[in-house]
Symmetry: C2
């Protein structure tokens, strides 16, 4: 170990202590233990440019153990990113660049939002998949995209089941450029790890086709360095580097859970610094340390960045068409592929899952960087691509992903792909099983990632599979997440329009809610879908009431409308595929669409009524679980008929 190694690692640790002490909040434990790992990685390996933090071909780094954020911010500061000493001093304060957990799009140099355990690893797997995919979707694509993805996790991430889905998938895809550090300190928040965990982690990773390396002493920079160098040479496996560390290294409470989530405080902090042999005042970092990172990390990254710019210029000359596509891909720009309004046969009565499958197949052929798949329900959610090539180690240019029965990882890896960039993505599952991926959908929304969720079998019409498979509250769940656009189209036309909205989104994930059953083509309006709601069937003369419906219930409402008119009640039918988009319209538009006061608005949706009272005083929904029966019997048993809707309106008007 060089003298500078010792000094720099001590400076990192001391700064973490200061940062957390100043904030009187934070998690110093893992930060102190992991400091040598981060030091070695950033000094000797990670290729990134602090002046161009979003540079496409940089190595990615994900702090899966997001609570060790003080360590990441300290590294970013030392490495020359836009994180100043003042930013470090305002750690966890309102509006600062250094929030409690790392936030993508908020702090430059942060490649992923993290904190919810397991999701960092899960996202990193998506990044590594994206790296390989992009590298193979272009002629000589490795000139455009060729980098490593590093992740740092602790015990928590590995206890989460999500981590198993992630490592299983990574091993299956032989993601050799994925390198995971496991800071193994044998302590969790509640105490010693062995209270709840006794897995042979090495064995588990090996069983998932990983290369496993181990560093016995977490302070041994040379050993860490050697392990990283070795990991980078792996040809067909991702690598786990287990590093045995001491939580809260240097603190009086080192090695215990007491140092997990509490500041060391002034006294213990001083003692720890003395233990490191580090004699600088709080927040004072010797120039040699800055110089070290300038001469290693920054120099390496800036040189690589310049080299890449040259490569890009020559690539543009050699492959102008491919380069144009690449630029669009990196910018997520699909405008060139989404022109014109599709035409539909008036007799079209495809289920919206089938319409979505057709739209997808068309778009897949048009948009060369559209990539996705489903969680083993391709044939049901209609994500099968005619003549599509599977993404696999043997066919890395394939864009059809077989995610396996791993909904959570699928959604989290999609986040990783979008964090990486260069792809438009979609994932598919039955609507009811979006429950399994809720936390990843939230993460997409929070990180402003425009993932697309194709969620079919969207009501009681699931039929025979019964209540475990029939969504009831799932739409309410999705709609309640900030920044999630839930679109439930009523026919083929609205489905195509929904796909357009989804693909054009830059910062909002979109869930397409699709029927299992056939639905007639209505007088729907392609361009109105982006407004969230519109009048799909006008009242005859006098407006007595308005029925708001979505998806399969729009045709039901139109049917009821006729019957109601025959009975002397003149209603309007509004299709409201997206409450999210509707809420974004101005008041005048919203009032003009609904046309009547709330007490004369009837909402109808064959799922939970929860949330609908914002728009309607009368809601026809289902607030109990479903039942196993052929779809039409189930629907009838729950009174989702035009006849009942007529009664419902008449009795409440």
């Amino acid at each position: 170990m060089q003298q500078i190694d010792k000094l720099a690692v001590s400076a990192i640790r001391a700064t973490c202590i200061d940062v957390v002490n100043k904030a009187k909040s934070g998690h110093p434990g893992m930060a102190l233990g992991s400091a040598p790992i981060m030091y070695t990685l950033f000094s000797n390996h990670l290729v990134a440019n602090p002046k161009e933090p979003m540079w496409f071909n940089r190595d990615r780094f994900v702090l899966s153990a997001g609570h060790a954020s003080s360590l990441l911010y300290t590294m970013l500061h030392l490495c020359g990113y836009e994180v100043s000493l003042d930013d470090l001093k305002s750690f966890r304060q309102l509006g600062s660049l250094t929030p409690g957990h790392p936030e993508f799009r908020h702090t430059k140099g942060v490649d992923a939002t993290s904190g919810p355990l397991g999701q960092g690893i899960a996202q990193a797997v998506g990044m590594a998949m994206a790296e390989r995919a992009v590298a193979h979707q272009y002629p000589q694509g490795k000139e455009l995209c060729s980098h490593y993805t590093y992740v740092l996790c602790g015990d928590g991430c590995l206890q989460e089941g999500l981590s198993q889905e992630a490592i299983s998938l990574a091993g299956h895809h032989k993601l050799n450029k994925l390198i995971l550090f496991y800071d193994s300190n044998a302590v969790t928040l509640d105490g010693s790890l062995d209270l709840s965990f006794s897995e042979n982690v090495k064995g588990r990773f090996k069983a998932s086709n990983w290369n496993v390396l181990e560093v016995e002493d977490g302070n041994d920079i040379d050993a860490i360095n050697e392990a990283i160098s070795k990991a980078k040479t792996s040809k067909s496996k991702p690598t786990l580097i287990i590093v045995h560390t001491v939580i809260g290294y240097g603190s009086e409470k080192q090695g215990t859970c007491k140092v997990h989530g509490n500041p060391l405080g002034e006294e213990d902090g001083q003692k720890a610094k003395a233990f490191y042999g580090y004699n600088y005042p709080a927040f004072e970092i010797p120039q040699e340390v800055y110089d070290h990172f300038k001469n290693t990390f920054a120099k390496r990254g800036e040189a690589a960045y310049k080299e890449y710019q040259k490569t890009l210029a020559s690539y543009k000359e050699k492959h102008s068409g491919a380069f144009k596509k690449f630029e669009r891909a990196v910018n997520g720009d699909v405008s060139a592929y989404l022109k014109g309004e599709p035409k539909f046969d008036p007799d079209n009565n495809d289920s919206t899952r089938v319409s979505s499958g057709k739209a997808l197949n068309e778009l897949y052929n048009k948009v060369p960087f559209l990539m996705g798949g489903s969680a083993d329900v391709a044939g049901s959610v209609m994500t099968k691509i005619t003549d599509g090539v599977n993404f696999s180690p043997k066919t890395p240019k394939g864009r059809n992903v077989n995610w396996g029965i791993r909904e959570f990882e699928m959604a989290a890896a999609q986040n990783g792909m979008l964090l990486h960039g260069g792809l438009k993505t979609y994932v598919g599952a039955f609507l009811v099983f979006v429950d399994y991926m809720k936390a990843a959908v939230r993460m997409a929304a929070l990180s402003k990632l425009p993932g697309i969720y194709l969620l079919s079998h969207d009501s009681l019409a699931v039929g025979e599979d019964g209540p475990t498979h029939q969504p009831i509250e799932q739409l309410a769940m999705l709609r309640s997440i900030p920044n999630v656009n839930v679109i439930r189209p009523c026919d083929a036309r609205e489905t195509y329009a929904a796909w357009k909205v989804a693909l054009e989104s830059k910062e909002t994930p979109t869930a397409l809610i699709l029927s299992r059953q056939n639905l007639p083509l209505l007088a729907s309006k392609y361009k109105e879908v982006e407004k969230g709601a519109y009048i799909i069937s006008k009242e005859s003369k006098r407006l007595d009431a308005t029925i708001v419906a979505t998806g399969s219930e729009v045709s039901l409402a139109v049917e009821a409308q006729k019957e109601l008119l025959a009975r002397g009640v003149d209603v309007r039918v509004v299709s409201m595929p997206s409450t999210y988009l509707f809420d974004k319209q101005d008041k005048q538009y919203r009032e003009s669409v609904l046309g009547v006061s709330k007490d004369k608005v009837f909402a109808v949706e064959m799922l939970s009524s929860f949330g609908w009272y914002k728009y309607a005083d009368h809601v026809m929904g289902i607030d109990t679980f479903g039942t196993s029966a052929p779809a039409k019997d189930a629907i009838k048993a729950y009174d989702f008929t035009a006849e009942h809707l007529v009664k419902f309106v008449l009795s409440n008007l």
Copy 2:
């Protein structure tokens, strides 16, 4: 293999074919592959009484691969449970006893609702924990509780990350009486398993401290039988029995995904039966097969049942006190422990998480069968039990569970414990991470299991940890699930009352939503909590408007009420800890509490407004993600102050 073995297995397979064909819906693939496993288990090992299907000390069987329900129903029919041939013929029809996926409380002999993959294994781990716990909570408790827990799963369950949490926990706890069959047929819905999966399953289970056995030929009854016998002798490890089967065995499409989820149809069904050498008409089963199960399964089970009744009688004599407790435990009867109304110091300003911790500690000492713990946040969610003993292999009578960072398994295993019976349970996590367990909460609600979720850090007041840790939409998510009682108490008194409601619940899970920050004791009413809402602070003279609040916002509302009165607006404050319970009250009560029409009701909750418009036209909530800052700064930044609430009321009245 005996002649009867062949005949019976063929009869099972033929019946599954008939059942699915008749329904024109179902999943015959795994049913046909797994038939010999089920045959062997039920003939030779499983101890249960078809006449007393809920007998407490029966072996438990969980069909984790719930889509193979036709197989389970066929077994129940053959074994003498109340599943008739007519019931089999009405498979998946409206109101039948044989729904698409097995449903607990619906079909006698079904020990767990299953279908959502991974959750069967996860629940079974909870059952095996409960078996051990109950056996050790009583003197000579093994006389009361001593049985095996069997589970059957397929590839899908093992791909779900939840399965890793479950097997990791089971291995950690050395649950030697848990036996998991893995029907390994190498095919999933979308095709060959190797499209998405290449784990060494054996290695993975061994790394999680399991005993692993393997049966090469899934039709080899003797080998299966031997493996089960061997598994039952395991002293310190759960056992995985990998059985290599052929999906859709006997069908023309055997070994392919085409037979996964589609009926064979008449022709292929006939061919399969011919292949088995089985010559009976549809739904005709030879008497020998019935006799076989009568002489094996039923005889063994009935004898064991009788023996157990004798044991119980003598146990009652020897340990009358323990027996009384046991009876209460089995009936989930806590009435003896919940008498009287607790008293509180008027200066009490405990956070509701602290109040919950105090209530829990008192209850833990009173209710001897109350068991639970948290997902590594005991010190934060306040589930630490003073002098509590950890449930561990060395201290199996301990009732404090260290679930590890495995929220999903924690919630699913709680379901398993409640399915098993003999325990009252609770689990704890941060509210925001209920996202990870959503699917298990739904399963509790669907299965009518009264699990208790202690969810603290219930708003922006989480503070520095920031948006990844601040719940926004989680309450809406929980409230939207049918049959979930969400209670957000406003002070210590309401917290104790909420605990009472939760413990007394028999068929409804309860989520207690707890504050991180201190809250003053208000003029709350212990007995009114069970009505969901009540007037906590009356208007002065004239009722101008009503503010409805929950949890930490009730004190805010009371503060605003004073200021509003000073400004000439006379409002009432309603505490609404539970919308679920409030909705159950009659209209008169509901109207009397609110006192005004909806346009004069203001709801205030420091989370998403989603769902509140059912009660109020004006909602002060937060429909964006939170921010990292000290709690008071974050709250101020989002305008959750009494001052702002006053303005909000004045500007909307």
